[in-house]
Symmetry: C2
């Protein structure tokens, strides 16, 4: 019997960094999206598209990523990675990395170890499915927020179906390559973020890492 | 006993447009955010702030909104409302309005009736709490998506606590007025969207409206 309680699902969800070699059926992907697309959006526009890659297509794409990364090709995401965070927020981002590497027993000075760990992003952590999220290129802030709402739903629906997710900016590093695999060239859509999807490997040490959150008073106020 | 099953909560959630005159406690707002902030964000940055207004402060703000609206002051949202949707998406947005007005028995030619219905947005549909979502003004696309993920979680956690929500671009129409109430003037933050929060009025006809979704093949593909 799978867990279905909202609170337990929220507390269970992590960025899963190790997946079992166990496929996800087309029926399960549809069920996942059937529920996730109940997410609200601006005037019910649903201005998003999600393309899933599986099997050989997924493997070939990841192989292309790996080649680019090994060549140290400059990242060229459609949406520039953000670097202008206020220093209080930069500290949180730094802490996440430190906490994760410490959990994995990787020394902060071990640059190679950290890089090898990070490279697993481009293997989709062994997931059987990768997904790519698109919005129309003419749209902006409101649509990106709507896409986020969909992602929030999707992450919890996946947990409720016994699956696991990892949303990865790293998979958005060469969107032009992705577009070739997703048949999105010339479709007027822009890809912002990728996702690994599948079943968590309970024996992967990455999956016992639980990230912290800032104190509530830093992100909310009641007046 | 409140509903806690993820699938039932998703199917239950609507944009609630009629609330009971029943307050939400500070403890419940904290519990709501405690769970919602488990939402994932870019490198765990949590680059958002949510300010809740209740009681007199909320009433005074809504009164100011009403005055502006009645004066037909031009909207001045921090994030321009989007109008460049592809025509296939425009149709969906149009359909939502038509479906809602038809459900409410408001004729599509009854401009006054439609306007009166829309004005309820500026009364927060009678909700005891309004919330305003902020991000640092230096940040953009990725942070807006993170904010959306938070909103997705929040909408479902609220349902799980027996509450209801309505996320409203309409509440973002005069952000400078909001900033005065939320003490956000000069804080380097930009407000994008508002939310009504409280307990749904089961006797409000608005709350028996259930919006449709496009066929799955329009928003997803498996390759």
């Amino acid at each position: 019997m799978q867990e279905r309680d909202i609170e337990k699902l929220i507390n269970k969800r992590i960025s899963t960094r190790g997946f079992l070699d166990k496929p996800v059926s087309q029926a399960d992907l549809e069920k996942l999206m059937q529920l996730a697309t109940r997410a609200p959006s601006w005037k019910n526009a649903q201005s998003y598209k999600l393309v899933f890659l599986t099997g050989d297509k997924k493997d070939q794409l990841l192989a292309e990523f790996k080649t680019e990364i090994e060549k140290r090709t400059e990242p060229r995401p459609h949406y520039d990675y953000e670097t202008s965070h206020p220093s209080s927020i930069k500290k949180r981002m730094f802490k996440l990395g430190m906490d994760l590497y410490s959990h994995m027993g990787i020394d902060r000075k071990d640059k190679e170890g950290r890089e090898a760990h990070f490279m697993r992003n481009y293997e989709a952590f062994g997931a059987p499915v990768v997904g790519f999220f698109y919005i129309p290129q003419a749209l902006g802030a409101w649509t990106l927020m709507d896409l986020g709402i969909l992602i929030g739903y999707l992450s919890l629906v996946a947990e409720g179906m016994g699956m696991a997710t990892c949303f990865q900016a790293s998979l958005a590093v060469y969107p032009d390559i992705v577009d070739r695999y997703t048949n999105m060239e010339g479709e007027g859509m822009k890809m912002i973020v990728g996702m690994s999807l599948g079943y968590a490997d309970p024996n992967d040490q990455n999956n016992s890492f639980y990230s912290s959150r800032v104190p509530l008073e830093d992100v909310m106020q009641v007046l």
